[in-house]
């Protein structure tokens, strides 16, 4: 026999009553602002969750007319608050769709087009438009090729790649090259960039991927300091306290000296094994300079499967002691602030004791870009 679920504690009913009440009063933006602020106030380790739970009910019960106000609440919010608000947007939109679709596309389009709004809510606005009015979203996508949001650029870039393929299929090589080049300039995601770069090269066109990505290619490197028992990760070796490119130091199994290294790799790989040979249980450092045209916010993006630390102008940005679990482009994104003029970037890269064939890599790739992944050009 199927046992029925007891409902003597009428929590669901209370919630439904609250929803009905809130719907009946058609929450206005002013009514919601206090609740939205409570959602924006959430922080680490569950801070503000208790207040947010109740506030979320109020926001999620809002009329579809309040969607852009909820989206605007995501501007400047931390990622946790974004998710609270994102869930509310989803519920409000779902309810509106269930009622036959009463979302104001015009207000969402206006929100999307206003690039002062943050990327996350604009992407969400675009998704809502796409679900409600696919033709409109296709039309809007054409204007997103230079959008500050790399996610929104995906739509027009995908379309350009399709157009380039069609031109190629019609034996219109010049048109195809021009279209692929346009796509490459706009592309910010690795899959798109790889795809388009290959097509262009196959068509005999040069592509400067390091420049497109903003990889730092010229480095001074020093090794091998010790990393026996992985203790080198925490040990402070001389390059962490002062830089003297003419100095040498006692290292693991020999002298540690600075050498110049320039990567020729499309993806900016800085490989310690090349100048220092394949060593184990060692620590190396790499130093690069970047001449910024202005003081500005930026991101240092690093991919590395060794233990690593990164300093910008002497300030430690992040440290990661994971070995040989995988590496990819933009694996770690480190927000930072560049100063005008010369900036120094120091990378510590530790190799561990593992002997499997997949643990020989002792390398990293590092690029400088803005928060959308657009390379920052160096002042020459």
């Amino acid at each position: 026999m199927r046992i029925k679920r007891f409902t003597f504690i009428p929590l669901p009913s209370m919630r439904q009553l609250l929803l009905c009440f809130l719907l009946a009063t058609a929450a206005s933006a002013a009514d919601l602002s206090s609740s939205i602020e409570k959602l924006r106030a959430v922080g680490k380790e569950g801070k503000g969750n208790a207040e947010a739970t109740k506030a979320w009910q109020e926001v999620a019960a809002a009329d579809a007319a309040a969607l852009t106000d909820i989206l605007a609440g995501m501007n400047g919010a931390n990622p946790l608050a974004e998710n609270w608000l994102r869930a509310a947007v989803g519920v409000v939109a779902e309810r509106a769709a269930a009622k036959g679709g009463s979302i104001s596309i015009d207000s969402l389009v206006a929100f999307l087009k206003d690039t002062k709004n943050a990327a996350a809510p604009r992407v969400l606005a675009f998704d809502l438009i796409r679900k409600s009015d696919p033709a409109m979203s296709d039309k809007l996508a054409e204007g997103l090729l230079a959008d500050p949001s790399s996610e929104l650029r995906r739509y027009p870039v995908t379309k350009l790649i399709e157009e380039g393929d069609a031109a190629l299929a019609a034996s219109k090589k010049e048109a195809a090259v021009a279209t692929f080049q346009k796509a490459l300039v706009a592309a910010r995601d690795e899959d798109h960039i790889k795809n388009v770069a290959k097509k262009l090269r196959d068509l005999g066109t040069k592509v400067d991927l390091p420049r497109h990505f903003g990889f730092l290619m010229k480095w001074q490197m020093i090794a091998p300091f010790t990393n026996v028992e992985r203790k080198g990760f925490d040990e402070v070796f001389p390059p962490e306290t002062s830089i003297d490119l003419t100095a040498s130091y006692p290292g693991k199994g020999g002298e540690a000296k600075w050498v110049e290294f320039e990567s020729k790799d499309d993806y900016g790989m800085i490989d310690f094994n090349k100048p220092f040979t394949m060593l184990k249980e060692v620590t190396g450092y790499a130093l690069a300079e970047f001449n910024s045209t202005e003081e500005r916010s930026a991101e240092i993006r690093i991919g590395c499967k060794n233990g690593w630390k990164v300093w910008l102008n002497g300030e430690l940005l992040f440290a990661r002691d994971e070995y040989h679990r995988g590496m990819k482009l933009d694996q770690y994104k480190l927000p930072c602030r560049l100063k005008a003029g010369k900036n120094t970037i120091l990378v510590k890269c530790c190799q561990n004791e593992q002997t499997e064939t997949w643990t020989v890599e002792w390398q990293f790739q590092l690029r400088l870009c803005d928060s959308t992944g657009t390379a920052i050009a160096e002042k020459m």
């Binding site: 680490k44 969750n49 998710n83 509310a88 519920v91």
Partner: protein, 396 residues
């Protein structure tokens, strides 16, 4: 008030959270041991009752709460969109879907995905965790109750190969694990608020195994956290150590429990009996060597799927092998069981039903689902649920 309702009313207040024997509330169901405790077992011959489309990747198992099936997946170029679905168990119709955004790292090995940990439920809430360490609590109607970003909180808590440890909920505490080479921890989280009750450091080593429940007669329940170091029994409400087995254990297949004994994936299988603060070894069989799939205890026997896709039946008394049966592998998901049948889906999509009572064991049915399946099935109310990246099936 009609006095006949008083016992019902009292029971409702004493047990405000509704959990039914047919519910399958977490990875490998009741006590995380893979065996259905419901009276109604799936029929001998199964057919596809319904199929639901999923928009993204995932190897988490579905869970079932009453007439609702919950499943997670991840989508987008970086798998940063995190989905929670609720389907009607009878019809497969979508009740609701929530789409959140990863706040932690989404990198993983190609074979796994961000939606690797199986969600869990206390019968009233659904807790969905992802490899990105994002954690969401919804009520059964899809209302967001709270959320956490555990990598947002603890910046080095991630694994570049991906994480898969499934959360478990017990007595008002959600136990989550984020065990990796760097900032490795387990935490007990208040199910009401999403705030830590406790947080303990765990071995700095990548770990994909999930916790199991263990309880001695008349004693408080214990959650056993498995790692390369062994199995640590903790009180779920405080995180305090109850007992500790320190002879090492697997970091992929999880252990099983039967009649108060833990069948640990340690040097093959090691049968452990915790008593007070100590743990006694009852027996060890190093030939009972699980591959990726976790073992299970069904009746008086232990079942192990080894790395070659061979199902081994052994006694609980001393681990002696009784028979071996070659299945159509390979397997990433684990077997589950109800009645006398074991259910398991291969990576190549062959869903197999094994009768464990025949002399040498026998595959009594194979359903080609024609998709890559890396997940563990779930059992509820006479039906088996299994998912691929793109589909969720109900078989009954």
């Amino acid at each position: 008030m009609n006095c006949k309702f008083i016992p019902l009313l009292l029971s409702a207040f004493c047990f405000p959270i509704s959990v039914f024997p047919s519910d399958w509330l977490q990875f490998r169901g009741p006590s995380a041991s893979g065996v259905s405790t419901a009276a109604k077992a799936p029929a001998a011959e199964l057919k596809i009752a319904w199929t639901a489309e999923l928009p993204g990747r995932g190897l988490s198992s579905p869970i079932i709460v009453g007439d609702k099936v919950f499943v997670t997946c991840s989508s987008g170029p970086e798998q940063a969109s995190l989905h929670v679905f609720c389907f009607d168990a009878k019809s497969g119709k979508k009740n609701w879907e929530r789409v959140m955004r990863a706040t932690g790292r989404t990198m993983s090995h190609n074979k796994t995905s961000v939606a690797a940990p199986t969600p869990c439920s206390d019968g009233k809430r659904v807790f969905a965790q992802y490899s990105s360490n994002d954690l969401f609590a919804f009520d059964l109607d899809g209302d967001l109750l709270w959320l956490r970003g555990l990598t947002y909180d603890y910046a080095n808590a991630s694994n570049s190969l991906g994480m898969s440890q499934s959360p478990t909920v017990i007595g008002g505490t959600l136990v989550v694990q984020s065990e990796n080479d760097s900032e490795s921890f387990a935490a007990g989280i208040d199910v009401e608020t999403g705030v830590n009750k406790w947080k303990i450091e765990r071995p700095k080593a990548a770990n994909w195994s999930s916790a199991i429940h263990w309880q001695a007669d008349g004693a408080q329940p214990v959650v056993a956290l498995q790692s390369s170091k062994g199995l640590l029994g903790i009180a779920p409400d405080t995180g305090a150590q109850v007992w500790n087995y320190e002879d090492g254990a697997s970091t992929i297949p999880s252990s099983a429990v039967g009649a108060g004994v833990i069948y640990a994936v340690s040097h093959g299988i090691t049968a452990l009996l915790p008593e007070g603060k100590s743990v006694s070894q009852l027996w060890r069989n190093e030939k009972l060597n699980p591959g990726t799939a976790s073992p299970l205890v069904l009746g008086d026997h232990l079942y192990v799927v080894n790395g070659a896709g061979v199902l081994i039946k052994a006694t609980l008394k001393n681990g002696e092998e009784l028979w071996k049966l070659r299945l159509k592998g390979p397997f990433s998901g684990s077997p589950v069981a109800a009645g006398k049948y074991i259910y398991i889906a291969s990576e190549r999509g062959d869903f197999q039903v094994v009768d464990t009572t025949t002399k040498e064991g026998s595959i009594v049915q194979t359903i080609p689902l024609k998709e890559t399946i890396l997940s563990t099935p779930a059992i509820s109310d006479g039906a088996v649920y299994v998912r691929s990246d793109g589909k969720l099936w109900r078989l009954n």
